[in-house]
Symmetry: C2
Subunit: 230 residues, 2 copies
């Protein structure tokens, strides 16, 4: 090859979200090494030479949570490559958004002094800066999650493999911070095509009358169209 291209390091960073105790939380790790030593940051790491981006995200997820085969929905968020976003060297990072049901407590990894689920309300108020450009990445992840609840079945990602309509409604109410009418919500989601798949089982774990248990269906969109063919 005649031309030698510029080189970069490539990382994946994870915006991992879950709902704990009625609050939307993100996973943060405390950096054990420079730069930004002692500051909180998003979990992530270098992509290996023989590794696809998605595979790197899955590997980091397993390493940072300490568990394999977590029921986590992972999707690419976007990439960030401002020239000096890492003060040491050129690093382009591919950020992933991950959603899971109430996940186990994280374990501190090799380069992390600590790892913790942090409520989103404490992250958007400006207190406690994050390392690198991670505050912006996290804000983008939260915005994406909130927006996609509205027109995709993403909310099911916050639920256990099987869940009740009431549990699904709680996800919306927590992420959006609003109250929804339980009766109209029930009708809406059970009527929506391929959104939910009934299991035949019921549970009474939430008190009251036992509720039907559902799995997430095959639908990828549930938006009412703004324009329709004539």
């Amino acid at each position: 090859m005649a031309y030698e291209p510029p080189w970069s390091a490539v990382t994946v960073d994870l915006v991992l979200l879950t709902i704990r105790a009625g609050e939307l939380c993100a996973l943060l790790v405390r950096r054990a090494i420079a730069p930004f030593r002692g500051l909180w940051a998003l979990p992530g790491g270098f992509v290996q030479p023989d590794e696809d981006l998605d595979a790197a995200a899955v590997r980091e997820l397993a390493e940072e949570t300490g568990l394999q085969d977590l029921p986590v929905h992972l999707e690419q968020l976007r990439s960030y490559g401002a020239p000096w976003r890492d003060p040491r060297l050129r690093v382009v990072t591919v950020a992933y958004l991950g959603l899971g049901p109430d996940l186990p407590d994280p374990v501190a990894g090799s380069d992390a002094a600590d790892a913790r689920w942090t409520p989103a309300s404490k992250l958007t108020d400006g207190r406690g800066r994050l390392a690198f450009d991670h505050a912006g990445i996290l804000a983008d992840g939260l915005e994406r999650a909130r927006a996609k609840l509205e027109y995709t079945p993403l909310a099911t990602g916050f639920c256990a493999p099987t869940f009740t309509v009431g549990e699904l409604r709680e996800v919306y109410e927590t992420v959006w911070g609003v109250a929804l009418d339980p009766r109209n919500f029930h009708r809406k989601v059970t009527t929506a095509e391929d959104l939910l798949e009934g299991t035949g089982e019921t549970t009474s774990r939430n008190g009251g009358r036992p509720a039907m248990l559902y799995r997430r269906g095959t639908a990828e969109m549930m938006m009412p169209p703004m324009l329709r063919p004539a």
Copy 2:
């Protein structure tokens, strides 16, 4: 630094779309050098050491079309990093989606033997493979564009700086391949909050009664919500 990370080359690739002669078209360049010499590919190139990703996309756009300050809407599509997607070396590419009004004929660049607007209908039918993983990237771009027309003002990106309601309708009809009711379409888009901004001017360039000219407004979403707070 104790640890030496793996290195990659980082490129940006562009899925540039426009509408020409009633057809949705993408810009392709014919490769003048190995690998995939002679095959068609998406325009793109290496991100420079001191350059942000968005800046690299803008620069490539100017280089590939031969013109500056084009009224093109550019947004990140997603990143692709399969280990051997480039047979020479590890390359992670950040793909951008760009939409513009009927754009000028492209000029062949330094590493391109030819450059051409190609109808989308010829691209999705399997004939004529593209270099690298560009067929998949292009398909993702087309899907994203089609989907975003539905709930964002993206369609205005295909229009000139000022445009009529009928021209905007043609965009939808071309990209989706359906007919829309002109009268209801008119009401819909002129009623939508902040979608269009009237200029006071009219034009009769499309024949018939002169039509009001609009600029795109400030709205970023125009979706009817699937769920609303109680």
